[in-house]
Subunit: 399 residues, 2 copies
């Protein structure tokens, strides 16, 4: 039997999904599992999107263009205008989820051995895509005690080598909920410019900024227009993660042409997903506002609740719908597995994503978890009680 | 401005899609373009599939499991049984089109520098996926004069090195329409076994075998059950290329676990596509028969027509819905571009895929094109007339 690839051995399991088999076992035993592990909102997909799907007027569900349906890309141009992001239709390439946009960015811009600097904790799948294409992620730790603010410019410069090709940020941030300030974004721009790097900017949570502080897109930064590759997705903002529609946006002609080779290799992004996503752009403002207000409330409720549990600490996330919280446990990986396999309270338990999977520096995040506040308040309330009971019962507790 | 990757420079443009800009220009000038270049059937998607989409009874279009929806995989087990392919639900991983199944197979099984032996001409995107993961495709030419039969075992063995990790076949074959015989499949099995290789077997055209000769799946071969990775797709058999649903099927536990890491990294395959594909498995037999008969007729019509054009030759494809035909031209790349940019007959022209893109051996396929017979007979008839007129007018004609 031939061996699998070393690359495959090196691939990390998703910290968000690796505990799924344990969760399935718990469910099979009749235990109710609160999913705090995954950014799967429980909010309804907009009616206008569902209607578009139900009224598809085609005889053949055929390939779409490799770069995506034109009318959808035209409407996206207008959507981005609202955020002061000025792009042309040719700058927008539709991808199979934001995931594929990250992957194609890496493939088109990075060769094996090329290095990307990423503030950590970071969305775990960046690592998986980097391994897929042989690129090396160099991380700069941000810390929970500083609310996961951007590390200093010096820290970036310490990591720059002749192989450094890109900086990757996620703003608002998954997993921390941090929102980069104008000053921080200017610092990133300066480094990108000084060393002529790509700036991969994952901005899928732009609609979820809660503090009144402005959302600064990488495309707002002057003088690096050709360095920016923006990653986007409709998944979160319209609660339609399953349709797998994202976008890669760049003004860099060479990158565009190159990314198109991968787009053509995989033929086309999902047709029905694009139809749904295009219709979603017409979602009424009151839906968006309702969703926004819901997350504002959930955020307050969750963070207050977490900080009331003895030994727990979470900074207040400014955006997205995650937080990274510190728990009074020896090892959050063990604790999260234990919650699913050996614990329940009144027939319920919680599933969280151990934060270690969002760091590459060994040992970091060992007592941290990522929690998504994508459940309704009454479920969050129950989950918080279960979490507190679990922390009281856990053999590896540290208080 | 930072440079794109060398990998990107090395990526070939799709021979199927690279002429799209020229085709778009021709269309903008009001010219009717017959698409013989792409395997996009014009047949309607089954009603049962469209109905499933129109009646999706969900509030939230959420992520599906990374390995695909369970009920869909259960039904696929029964589908494969009909072809004497005995697999369990856990052997089936749903992918975003057959493309992703090829890509994940390569990623999970091959490291940079590992070699795959592929009979050529071969589906061009194998090359793109190989470049993506740093693997090296070594091709063995099959020739139009021998009807694209499998090259001899000796030819395979000549190419085997310490880095050879896999053989890749497509059966029935895209682009040639060749269907491997039992004897040929046994030869492949013997090599796979002798050198302990992976056998990647792309069998997406299994429903399209026209000669009465049996379709032999890689899973029918005894003694290499753990070596086989089967690539499948619902795109062609239900004329639903746009939904992007395929499958990777293997009994090799290590490969499965490894592929799942990539599945988790990209989160999930398209939800609506899976719902449509699952429903498609209930397509009535009479639809399948009608489609089959349609292709039988189109095949005969196209091949007869091609072989009547002076200087043209096409063997009779035994399966799939393509043929590789020899044309009396100096360079099929130039000819195909010329048809779109400088030629029209009564306001019409043809788009074909130059076969050079399906070979890696330089110079091979120079006067060959791949033609898909996915258009209805009356369109094929017009396309054949246009092709004949183009060949008469083309400055680089060789007769």
């Amino acid at each position: 039997m031939p061996n699998i690839s070393q690359r495959g051995v090196n691939m990390p399991a998703s910290p968000i999904r690796k505990l799924v088999p344990l969760a399935n076992k718990a469910k099979a035993q009749g235990i109710k599992v609160y999913h705090l592990n995954i950014g799967q909102p429980d909010l309804p997909t907009p009616e206008v999107a569902m209607d578009a799907m139900r009224h598809v007027d085609r005889k053949v569900l055929e390939y779409s263009p490799s770069e995506g349906i034109r009318s959808f890309r035209e409407k996206l141009v207008l959507y981005y205008e609202k955020f002061n992001i000025h792009v042309n239709i040719d700058d927008i390439i539709i991808t199979t989820g934001g995931s594929e946009a990250v992957f194609f960015s890496f493939m088109a811009c990075l060769d094996p051995g090329d290095e990307i600097i990423v503030p950590e904790p970071a969305y775990a799948n960046y690592m998986a895509f980097a391994i897929s294409c042989g690129a090396v992620i160099k991380t700069i730790p941000s810390t929970i005690d500083e609310g996961f603010a951007l590390p200093s410019v010096e820290k970036f410069e310490e990591l720059i080598t002749s192989r450094t090709k890109a900086i990757l940020i996620c703003n608002p941030n998954n997993p921390t909920g941090y929102l980069y300030t104008q000053k921080e974004m200017d610092q990133i721009r300066d480094i990108v410019k000084k060393y002529d790097l790509f700036l991969f900017s994952d901005e899928v949570y732009r609609e979820f900024c809660y503090t009144g502080a402005p959302y600064i897109s990488a495309f707002h930064l002057k003088g690096i227009e050709n360095n920016v590759v923006l990653v986007d997705s409709v998944s979160k903002r319209y609660s339609e993660c399953g349709i797998r529609i994202g976008a890669l946006i760049t003004k860099n002609q060479m990158v565009k042409e190159n990314v198109m080779k991968w787009c053509q290799a995989r033929l086309s992004p999902p047709l029905i997903g694009q139809i749904i996503a295009e219709a979603s752009l017409d979602t009424p403002e009151d839906y968006m506002l309702e969703v926004y207000n819901e997350y504002v409330e959930r955020r307050k409720f969750l963070i207050d609740g977490l900080n009331r549990i003895p030994g727990c600490y979470s900074p207040i996330p400014m955006g997205a719908f995650y937080t990274v919280a510190k728990l009074p446990v020896d090892d959050a990986d063990k604790f999260c597995a234990w919650c699913l396999s050996e614990f329940s309270f009144e027939g319920q338990t919680v599933m969280m994503a151990p934060a270690s999977g969002f760091y590459t520096t060994p040992g970091l995040g060992k007592n941290e978890v990522r929690i998504a506040y994508v459940l309704k308040k009454e479920d969050l309330a129950k989950a918080l009680i279960v979490l507190q009971k679990a922390l009281e019962a856990y053999p590896g507790k540290t208080i």
